[in-house]
């Protein structure tokens, strides 16, 4: 308990969280503080590039191992199963329609890169190492959850979920599904993340020593700036968050806890270190708000886009970075004893 509290306080007092809180508070007092949206887009690109490159270099440094393949498999399975759990909760307990349930489930099946790096930062502060391939596992877990959620919505929805009538389109895969698939696999975020991972892996240590001044030293500062903007966005959309209702509000906390628990347990069972199991828990617990929304919007245009992004950005993201990460770490430590 003492460990958990000291970790929690340590997480809360990191510049990352404090900048998020600053943004949130600035929005609440209606400050005119603003991060230009083009800058946010560039910061997001930078983060993906830096995370991917570093992950690729670490992947090659450690080399292929049985544990890597098992973790990748476990990550894929988690990505496919988590949306099913979310979908069942949403449709059965919350009586949410299948289209909106599938859209939300897609976000929760995918992962949040920023939550992942915040957790990595916390592990570093605690002096805990983790398997270097976790970034690659993260990249792998971005898309399956999105696809799984979209499929659930289509499978359980009697409403027309897709393509404009008129019979102009041909081919087995409807064009909107194709567009959504393209977005989830080759959208801006996954392309930069996976591409940088490959470049990091190919150029290895030499590439890293060249890129270090750009992607390592400024990283935490850039992340702070990004989190400041996330805080502003979350604070300014507080009205929307309050409108999602008690059930969905609770969903945004309970489902990450379930995912985190499942992730920590899986990580421990397959033999990851405490740091690795914590990261797998964070991945399973986090919900996407960068990569998933556009793909889901294309695949399920009838779904309310405000709902899923409000939940993942406004409730699950702050919950995870403030309370979730120390909690998943405490759980992984306890399971790993």
């Amino acid at each position: 308990m003492h460990d958990f509290l000291s970790t929690a306080v340590g997480t809360l007092l990191s510049p990352l969280i404090l900048f998020f809180v600053l943004g949130f508070a600035a929005a609440l007092v209606r400050s005119d503080l603003e991060v230009p949206k083009d800058v946010t887009a560039a910061l997001s690109l930078y983060l993906m590039l830096a995370i991917g490159f570093k992950g690729g270099e670490e992947l090659v440094r450690e080399g292929l191992s049985a544990l890597l393949l098992i973790t990748a498999g476990a990550g894929l399975v988690l990505g496919l199963i988590l949306p099913v759990i979310a979908f069942v909760i949403l449709t059965r307990l919350g009586r949410i329609d299948p289209v909106n349930a599938g859209a939300i489930a897609s976000h929760y099946g995918s992962i949040s890169v920023v939550t992942f790096v915040t957790a990595q930062g916390m592990l570093a502060r605690l002096g805990l190492s983790h398997e270097g391939f976790m970034t690659a596992v993260m990249a792998l877990m971005e898309s399956p959850g999105v696809i799984s959620g979209i499929l659930l919505a289509r499978l359980f929805s009697s409403r027309r979920t897709g393509d404009p009538a008129g019979g102009r389109w041909s081919g087995a895969v409807p064009p909107r599904t194709r567009a959504a698939l393209r977005e989830t696999l080759f959208g801006a975020a996954p392309t930069v993340l996976l591409g940088s991972l490959v470049i990091g892996a190919v150029t290895g240590e030499k590439g890293m020593s060249m890129m270090k001044p750009f992607i390592i030293e400024p990283f935490q500062g850039v992340l702070c700036l990004f989190l400041l903007d996330m805080g502003l966005t979350a604070g300014r959309r507080l009205g929307d968050f309050l409108q999602v209702g008690r059930f969905l509000g609770l969903f945004g906390i309970v489902v990450p806890l379930l995912g985190g628990g499942l992730g920590a347990l899986t990580g421990t069972l397959i033999g990851l270190s405490v740091g690795g199991a914590t990261l797998l828990a964070v991945l399973a617990a986090s919900a996407s708000y960068i990569a998933a929304p556009a793909a889901v919007r294309l695949a399920l245009p009838q779904a309310n886009p405000g709902l899923a992004i409000t939940l993942s950005l406004g409730i699950t993201f702050p919950f995870n970075i403030v309370f979730g990460i120390p909690l998943y770490h405490a759980l992984a430590s306890w399971l790993g004893r």
């Binding site: 991060v35 949206k37 083009d38 800058v39 946010t40 887009a41 910061l43 997001s44 404009p164 909107r176 567009a179 990004f226 903007d229 996330m230 966005t233 929307d240 708000y289 960068i290 929304p293 556009a294 919007r297 294309l298 245009p301 009838q302 886009p305 405000g306 992004i309």
Partner: protein
């Protein structure tokens, strides 16, 4: 024989639906369009403004100026998209227009 009147179609649409709208516009036979990639405002889907890190809450504006027949096909096609996506479409008659390419072959839907 009088010349066909020219119309201006102004479309505000979710940015994610932009590629689909542009396909509709080109299929309708329009020879050009102008895009304002980022606009924000409030409508039937509440406040919509760019998040920066995801385009899902961003709106874009497309302006198409075309002969009336083409403009109506554009309006009908994009109108169908607006049944599902956020946005607004208006069509007005243009009184005076310089610079419109009317030479290209066009195909009415």
């Amino acid at each position: 024989m009088g010349e066909e009147p020219v119309k201006r179609v102004e479309i505000i649409l979710e940015a994610v639906a932009l590629p689909e709208a542009l396909e509709v516009i080109s299929r309708a036979g329009a020879t050009g369009y102008t895009i304002i990639p980022q606009v924000h405002g409030k409508g039937r889907r509440g406040v919509r403004s760019d998040l920066g890190f995801s385009e899902v809450m961003r709106n874009a504006m497309i302006i198409v100026v075309a002969p009336a027949g083409v403009a109506e096909s554009v309006a009908a096609g994009v109108g169908r998209l607006l049944e599902e996506y956020a946005g607004l479409l208006t069509v007005v008659t243009v009184e005076h227009c310089v610079g419109l390419d009317q030479q290209s072959p066009r195909r009415n839907a």
